[in-house]
Amino acid sequence: MEQQFESFRQQLDESVVVREQLRSIVSDLDSAIRLMHAALLPLYHHSSIEAIHKAKGHISEFQRLYTKLGEVLKSCPGEYYRYHDHWRNQTQQVIFLLSFVNWLEFGNLLSHGEVESLLDLQQKEFFVDLEDYLIGLCNMSNELPRYVVNQVTAGIYDCPKRVSLFLSDLYAAFRILNLRNDFLRKRFDGIKYDLKKVEEVLYDVQIRGLLNTSSQLASTVQPSTDELMQLQ
C-alpha cells in the first residue's frame, strides 16, 4: 500500500509544480499586458500610428509566453481545463489588446483563428477558449466610446461613423449567439450601451454638420495601407 501511495504523492506534488510554473508565466503575462496597454495610451492625445507601432512590439512577448504555457501543458495533456482559471483573465485582456490594435489598423474584427495565429498557437496543446475570445471582444467594445470622444475632441470627425458601423455589426453578430442569462449575456448587454454612447456622439457631429470637415485629418489617424505595410 505504501508504495502505491508514494506514487500518489508524486502525482499530487506534480500538479503543485505545474501550478507554480503557470503562476510564474502568467505573472510575466500580466507585465506584458501592462506594457502593451501603456504603449496605447498616447492614442488618446497625439499620433496614433506611433502608438500602434509601439504596442505591436509587445506581441512577440505574448507569443513567447503562450508558447511557454503550451509547453507546460504539453507535460499534462488533456488538462487544459483543469488549469484554465490560471490564465483566463489575462487571455481576455490579451484578446482585448490584439483586437483593438487590429481594429485601429484595419478597421475590421480580428477572428478567433487570427488571434491564435497571432499568438503562435498552431500546436494543439494550447488554444484560446471561445468564451474568453468573446469576452475579450466585449472588453474592446467598452473601450471604443472613450476612443471616439477623444478623437472628436481632437477634431477627427469621421471616427464616430466608422465606430458606430463597426459596433452595430458586432452587436448584431452577438445577437446571433442566443446567449442565455449568464455572465456573457451581461457583458454583451454592455455593447448596447457602448453603441448608444457612440451614436450620441455621431448625432452631435452630424447635426452640427462637422462630418465633412475632417476627412483630411481622419486619413492621418486611420493610417494608410502603405504605412501599415511598414509596420508589419
Binding site: 442565455r180 448596447k192 453603441l195 448608444k196 451614436e199
Partner: protein, 257 residues
C-alpha cells in the same frame, strides 16, 4: 387503530408489509416525479423558444419589421400548440397548483414574449383576459380549459420591463429616438399599476425584488429619455424630426412625441 390484533399479526412479518406499502408509495412518487420531469422539460422548451422570440424582436429593424413580427406570431402559436399544450395535457385538478413550480418558468417567459410581441405590433398592453382567450381551445387532462393564472402572468409582465428597457436603449443606439419616450410612458403606467396592485398585499421577496428591478429598468429608460431630450433640445425641432424619419419600430411614436 380499530384492529390492533390484525396489526399485531402484521408486525410479525414487517418486511413484507412494509415493502408492499412502500412499493405503492414508490409508484406514486415515481409517477409524480416523472410527470414533474416532463413538465420541467416542456417548460424549459417553452422558455428557450420564448427567449428566441424575444431575441427576434430585438433584431427587428425598419426593413424587417413586418416579416419578423409575422414570424414572431407564428412562433408564439407554435409554442402554444406544442410546449404549452404539452404542459396542459399533463395537468388535472390539484396538479395545476401542485406542479406549478415545474412549469411556471416556461409560462412566465411565454407571457413575457407574448406581451412584448403585442406591444411591438400595436403599442398596446396584452391583457390576461386576451391572452387567455388564445388558450380557449386548449384543454387539460380532465378536459377543463387551460388558463394562465394571474401570478404567473404578473411575474411575466414584470420581466417584460427588462426587455422594454433594452428596446428603448437600442432604439436610441439605432437612431430611433422616439421609441424611448413612448416606451417610457408605457413602463411608467405599468409600474404605477403594480404599485397600486400590491399596496395591501405582501407577495413576499419575489414580488418586492421584481418591483425593485422594474424601478431600476424604469429609471434606466427615463435616463435614456433624458439624454435624448437634452441632446435634442439644442437644435430646432425640425432638424431632429428630419433625422428620425421613418426609423421607428414602435407605432404611434410621432403622435405621442
Amino acid at each position: 387503530m380499530a384492529e390492533p390484533a390484525e396489526k399485531k399479526q402484521r408486525a410479525m412479518a414487517p418486511d413484507a408489509t412494509l415493502s408492499s406499502q412502500f412499493e405503492k408509495y414508490a409508484a406514486e412518487l415515481d409517477a409524480t416525479n416523472e410527470k414533474r420531469e416532463r413538465l420541467v422539460k416542456a417548460s424549459r422548451d417553452a422558455t428557450i423558444s420564448s427567449k428566441k422570440v424575444i431575441f427576434l424582436i430585438h433584431r427587428i429593424n425598419e426593413a424587417s419589421k413586418q416579416t419578423l413580427l409575422e414570424q414572431a406570431e407564428r412562433d408564439l402559436a407554435y409554442i402554444r400548440s406544442t410546449h404549452i399544450s404539452r404542459i396542459a395535457r399533463e395537468l388535472q385538478g390539484i396538479e395545476y397548483w401542485k406542479l406549478r413550480r415545474a412549469y411556471s418558468p416556461g409560462l412566465q417567459e411565454f407571457v413575457e414574449a407574448a406581451t412584448l410581441v403585442e406591444y411591438c405590433k400595436t403599442g398596446k398592453f396584452l391583457t390576461l383576459e386576451n391572452l387567455n382567450k388564445t388558450f380557449l381551445e386548449m384543454k387539460d387532462a380532465s378536459a377543463t380549459p387551460f388558463i394562465i393564472n394571474v401570478e404567473d402572468y404578473l411575474l411575466g409582465v414584470g420581466d417584460l420591463t427588462g426587455e422594454l428597457m433594452r428596446l428603448a436603449i437600442s432604439g436610441v443606439a439605432n437612431g430611433q429616438r422616439g421609441v424611448s419616450q413612448f416606451v417610457c410612458s408605457f413602463v411608467q403606467a405599468l409600474y404605477e399599476g403594480f404599485s397600486l396592485l400590491f399596496y395591501n398585499v405582501d407577495y413576499g421577496k419575489d414580488m418586492n425584488k421584481k418591483m425593485e428591478t422594474m424601478l431600476q429598468n424604469l429609471v434606466k429608460i427615463e435616463t435614456t429619455c433624458y439624454s435624448v431630450h437634452v441632446r435634442g433640445s439644442e437644435y430646432p425641432e425640425s432638424m431632429i424630426v428630419d433625422s428620425l424619419e421613418q426609423q421607428d419600430i414602435v407605432p404611434g411614436i410621432h403622435t405621442s412625441f
